[in-house]
């Protein structure tokens, strides 16, 4: 990060602030309560990319849904710029693991969906904004294709464009590359890194890939399961985003990867006992 953004961060309050977020679900079958998240405290600064890493079922997606306003916490609160979250809002957009594209809409109409729901289609320049977002994710020429005609990677590009075009302050990404094939996954990870760096968005990036967590995050939040709690928060301390990091900071990258592997392996062993 540049010194300028570092100064801005130092002088401002966190953009996202989670305080004691606890989520319990009623399990109908057993009649018991399941604790998905227990007492999560986390601050995310403006312009920061925080990756959330953890095994399946550790509550990381639930945490993102709380920040998105889709799930109400049983206790605790999330504050965006000091205001308590009570539901979804135009300051946040979500990129979903399963893309969540509307199969009956073309790429162009999918990308404009957010603007349409936010009633921004009266803005004169919305067509240009949609087109710019499509160009930005590299889908020029596919405007009138339907999602089923696109590969998984391309479908997620549509998902990214739909999120970016709404111009949110915060991007919430829920394992956006989880359903994409391995090669595309690496290419898109680096592209997402570039997009985040270019646009300077504040990002909460949920993943179960250690590489993604290191290569995209300014900080890595490691979750543990049963109940979902924060196990560790690590500052990566590497400049740049995506594959740049891998090449330029070999030593730190490998150090982090080894550390995270052992943490997650212990977690997995504990969970399977």
């Amino acid at each position: 990060m540049t010194t300028e953004t570092a100064q801005r961060r130092a002088s401002t309050a966190p953009l996202i602030s989670a305080r004691g977020v606890t989520v319990k679900f009623d399990v109908a079958r057993t009649g018991k309560q399941m604790i998905a998240l227990s007492n999560i405290d986390l601050d995310v600064m403006e312009g920061e990319c925080v990756t959330v890493l953890g095994p399946s079922g550790c509550g990381k997606t639930t945490f993102m849904n709380v920040v998105a306003g889709l799930v109400k916490p049983t206790s605790g609160s999330v504050f965006i710029d000091g205001d308590e979250v009570s539901g979804p809002g135009p300051d946040r957009a979500v990129v979903f693991q399963d893309y969540a594209l509307l199969p009956w809409r073309t790429v162009f109409d999918n990308v404009r969906f957010g603007l349409e729901m936010q009633k921004k289609l009266s803005d004169g320049d919305w067509r240009d904004r949609v087109q710019n977002a499509i160009d930005m994710v590299g889908l020029s020429g596919f405007e009138s294709s339907y999602p089923r005609e696109l590969s998984g990677g391309m479908q997620q590009r549509v998902g990214l464009a739909r999120a970016f075009v709404a111009e949110p302050r915060i991007l919430l990404m829920d394992e956006p590359l989880g359903a994409v094939d391995a090669l595309t996954r690496e290419v898109m990870r680096d592209e997402i890194g570039k997009l985040i760096a270019q646009t300077g968005k504040t990002v909460l990036f949920i993943t179960h890939s250690i590489e993604e967590a290191i290569l995209l995050g300014d900080r890595i939040v490691v979750f543990k399961s049963k109940p979902g709690e924060i196990k560790e928060i690590i500052t990566t301390g590497i400049e740049g985003m995506g594959s740049e990091r891998n090449a330029q900071n070999d030593e730190r990258f490998h150090e982090l990867r080894e550390h995270l592997w052992s943490v997650l392996a212990n977690e997995a062993a504990a969970a399977s006992k």
Binding site: A68, P88, P90, V94, F96, Q97, A100, M117, Q118, Y146
Partner: protein, 276 residues
Amino acid sequence: MTISSATGIIHIDPDRRPIKTSNTTWRIRLTLVILAFLLIWQAAVAWFKLIPSNFLPAPTEVSVAFGELVVNPNFWSALAFSLGNMAVGLAMAIGVGVFVGIALGLSPALRITVAPFLWLLYSTPKVALAPIFILALGLGSASKIGLVFLLAVFPVLLNTMEGTLTVSPSLVNAARVYGASRFSVGWKIIAPATLPFSLVGIQRAVALGFTGEILGEFLGGAGGIGHMLEYAAYKFLMDEALAIVFVMVIVSNLSLGLISIVRRKLAPWDTDQKGM
């Protein structure tokens, strides 16, 4: 394709591609099969006299009867009677089926209270209820419309309910993230996601509704091509009877074809077309 990741193995199934045969090849083959079938039939009845022709007339006799049928004004009024009843019964079945299907899909409370009765009625052989319809609604159009409705409403209703129930929660979440109202979620997500399911149900309803109409005409009254068929069989005019059966096949296929076109127009994204 299989991908290993930190937390498990993901399987990605490749698209199942249908066997591709060009339309013309397919048509030529189909025509040949039908011609061979007609030839064997003709040979068995007219040339080798394996079957008495007053039980099963040869294709040539049936086609002569068909030619007489299409110039008979009584036939056309009978056809209009049948199709009219069918249209009214289907329209009611579609209206009620879609409305109740959506309501059941959206409301768990309704599903728990109403669904058992629906399943009970659905599992009843509805044909067994036909005499009750004739008794209650008389020998005219009303009893036929009632039977068409009874047979046609279930596929529409159940398919619509399934469509509403299987709307992907992440599509609803995607809409909520951008601040969609409940109305917008219903109109822009649930309705289009349910449409292909309802259309499949409607396609089934058309086939079943036609059965209901013919059945109703068999059981009573004096109108419609079902009645005409029954009368021809009663008079032992098997050539005319088979010609009417042939008309029914045409009507059934034309209406199914029409719905297929409607499905492609209204739901072009639904390429797997969910079978019949």
